[in-house]
């Protein structure tokens, strides 16, 4: 790995979200991979970010209340009957 190809921890942490989404271009992904493999701090942040995404995915999906649903359904019926 050449010196100019390496990136610092400060830069790596800003790329981790895209890294987890598979949204990094190949050369950048490889650099993050190589960096993380040898860096405890960035590995920690990567693991925590992954867990953050998992926990966010566990949030309950909210719904509208009954009155709000009823209003929209009424509007839909109005449209239907023209």
């Amino acid at each position: 790995m050449s010196v100019e190809a390496s990136i610092s921890c400060r830069e790596v942490v800003e790329l981790l979200s895209d890294y987890l989404d598979g949204a990094l271009p190949e050369p950048e992904r490889v650099r993050v991979d190589e960096h993380v493999a040898g860096c405890d701090g960035c590995t920690l942040v990567l693991d925590e970010l992954r867990e953050t995404i998992r926990l966010t995915g566990m949030l309950t999906v909210e719904h509208l209340n009954d009155a709000q649903r009823a209003t929209l359904l009424d509007a839909f019926r109005d449209w239907k009957t023209g």
């Binding site: 921890c9 979200s17 701090g41 925590e48 953050t52 966010t56 949030l59 999906v61």
Partner: protein, 217 residues
Amino acid sequence: MSLPRTTTDDLALAERLRAGDETAFMMLVDELGPSMRRVARMYVSTDAVADEVVQEAWLGVVKGLGGFEGRSTLRTWIFRILVNTAKTRGQRERRSVPFSSLAGDDLDSPSFDPAMFVSSGDSEGAWSTLPFDWRGMPEERAEATETLHVVEGAIATLPPMQAEVIRLRDVLGWSSEEVRNALDISETNQRVLLHRARAKVRGALERYYRGESEGMP
């Protein structure tokens, strides 16, 4: 988390809506309703006006269904109608909302405190202080209602566009393409907003776990 639908599913769903199928309509209302209200609210002045915008948008949806060809997902298409309706209404209210007030003014600043990194010398940019390590938290602790409240609370304090991007992506499981089309933002903005949002939620979890480990409430 709702599953991404295929084009065939979406076209069938659109057809059911056109035929006046109330179950299909309410299915979409339940999936999209809260997000639509929040997104409308970004562009108009009150909750009441946002509700009107949502109704107007649904009307636009059912009237315009003939024009849906499955080139985007149905939910994305619905959101585009919503966003356009909301922006038009906002203009009529003479309410101009700068993008930065929706997206947050912190998009260009680092998501980690610069003080955590070495500021000069050969190791410039390397960690000087490691973030608090909350890995290895037992699953029942991590998934406890209280922890999920921390996540929810952190999302609620985000600038509206950051909050919506993380909700659509990580709570509802939409793809990045759907989210950027739905919210009418660039791919770069979508990525930056999501990154900021995730970093802040991670930070909130870190503070929560560290507070607990130090015996603080």
